[in-house]
Amino acid sequence: MTVISLTRGGTADAAGAPAPRRRRGLRVRVALARIGAGLAVLVPIVFLSSFITYCLGALSNSNPAATILGQDAATPAAVARLDKALGLDHPLVVQYWNWLVQAVHGNLGRSYFTQIPVSQSISQRLPVDLSIAILAVILAVVIGGTAGTVAAIRRGGWFDRGVTAVCSVVSTLPAFVVGIILVVLFAVSVHAFPANGYVGPSAGAGPWLSHILLPSLALSLQVASDIARQLRTSLVQVLDQNYITGARVRGLPYRRILVRHALRNAAGPALVTLGYDFPQMLAGAVAAEAVFSLPGIGQLLLESAETRDIPVVQGLLLVISTFVIVVNLVINTTLNWLYRSGDEVGT
């Protein structure tokens, strides 16, 4: 069994270094090693996922130049000229690199059919999905967090059993089924909320929220149940630890023990769950768009997939995977912060 250190000055190096006299120096080195190790993981992931994204388009046996020119105008000479103009005569890796460099500068190319810049059509529609997804994350954390915490404190009680039962039912319901149920309950039967459509926040917070509340709720339920279950499990374990008993013996107020000691140490697995669920949440946003007929990126994706508008599809996939990576980096940073301050609280 060997411990891998794959980074320049990786974690193993730092740990094995002779104990430095100044603590500050060691801290800086550990921090640098951590950043180095993080980059060693992150950089390959970014390149691999964007390369897979680019390859999807390149591997399609569609001929972009012929598609753009249309059947009549697509003479071999014209196709060759356009191929050159689009840079399609280069090897795949060169094409990928050019595409990536352009993408980093915010240029994702133009649609084959409408000639609208891809970045423009994505940025037009992204706010819809972002509002839904952000509200859904908030709802999931609030609902799931509260349910999980209360269930863990009242372990074995009726609330705990209720949460467990509800969670196992909810986890079997896909977001689009939940969405349909919500539409039937609140929009068709009661008319409490609009059943479809989207109004931007510029129209006022009230109408905006009423349009995104049902889709967000549909998205959040499954994530909320995952968080509740995970948080309950880890909180039950943490509450059994000696340092919790110790804190209670010292007479600290229960609320303070719960928040500062228990929740801080128990939140990690629930956060990781959120990281796992986030990509599927974006997929769920597509479902929510379909159910509530919202003009989001899901519709754009389906439309462009149907017409095989490769630049739009590639751009969308790149934006989405970047989002997932960024959210997971935020979660990782939060985890680091939680665990580090957790050490200080625990000892």
């Binding site: 993981v41 996922s49 896909p174 089924v177 349909i180 599809v313 985890l335």
Partner: protein, 292 residues
């Protein structure tokens, strides 16, 4: 953790197996057992509620809902199994192999697995169908590829655990080959984890299939599928608001049975599903250990 006795002693597992047996029968003989022709249109019987003639009512073309659900089972279930099969092969084999094949291979495969985890199923699948053509059987290949990281992580973690055991060390010292160690010592121990993951991933694949067919990807309109029936119900909510609950419940019950079975096997064998200690983008490389 590991308790003696068959998985089937748990009541939840028995119910789950019962539900799944029904689904299997429907998959095999669904169209033959259907009481009526699932494609027969009857303009005189639109949006009917449950009756003796139509046990689950009729849809917007007067077609028998029960027959459509029974006939739609085969395509929905078989494509889900196709994706799981692909994920199992692409995930479990590298999951065992990386532990024994050296750190660079391990590092590379791990990063590919991480990269795949950044794609949401639907976006990736729709993008692939845009590039490679529309069809449910083709569409399930990318679903399988995206299921592979889950199999990979679970198998790799379980393999690591067992490959560090003393009896493996002893076998190594006695001159056993890596293949022998894998076959005799590792595979059998890792199998419960793979079974649990397979059940959980079948549930995930079934949800994805239903969602894809709900979006109309990979199927032509008259062909009945679970998701497709749900999608057409959605267009006529004002006439028949109860209609989507029937296919919705069918999907939920099947998925619930698979999850319950996964839980039961896990309880009985002490195997884990997902390694939740590792985030999608791993933070600590020192966790990545290799035996080779």
């Amino acid at each position: 953790m590991s308790r003696r006795g068959s998985v089937l002693r748990l009541p939840s597992a028995r119910i789950a197996v019962g539900v799944l047996a029904v689904v299997v029968i429907l998959t095999a003989f669904g169209s033959a057992l259907a009481p009526q022709n699932p494609l027969a249109i009857n303009a005189n019987a639109l949006f009917q509620g449950p009756s003796a003639h139509h046990l689950l009512g009729t849809d917007y073309l007067g077609r028998d809902v029960l027959s459509r659900l029974m006939a739609g089972t085969r395509l929905s279930v078989l494509t889900a199994l196709e994706a799981v099969g692909i994920g199992l092969v692409l995930g479990a084999i590298p999951g065992i192999a990386t532990v024994f094949m050296g750190r660079w291979f391990d590092f590379a495969v791990n990063r590919i697995s991480d990269a795949l985890m950044t794609f949401p199923y639907i976006f990736f699948v729709v993008a692939v169908t845009a590039a490679l053509g529309n069809g449910l059987v083709q569409a399930m290949i990318p679903v399988g590829i995206l299921l592979a990281p889950a199999f990979f992580r679970v198998t790799r973690a379980a393999t690591l655990e067992h490959a560090r055991a003393q009896y493996v060390e002893a076998a190594d010292l006695l001159g056993a080959s890596k293949l022998h160690v894998i076959r005799v010592h590792v595979l059998r121990k890792v199998l419960p984890n793979i079974v649990v993951t397979t059940a959980a991933m079948t549930a995930a694949a079934l949800l994805t299939v239903s969602f894809l067919t709900f979006l109309g990807i990979g199927v032509q309109p008259p062909t009945p599928t679970w998701g497709g029936i749900l999608s057409s119900d959605l267009d006529y909510l004002s006439q028949a608001p109860w209609a989507p609950f029937i296919p919705g419940a069918l999907i939920a019950v099947t998925v619930g049975a698979l999850n319950a079975l996964a839980d039961a096997v896990r309880d009985r064998s002490g195997a884990g599903t997902l390694v939740l200690a590792d985030p999608i983008i791993p933070t600590d490389l020192s966790l990545e250990r290799s035996v080779a």
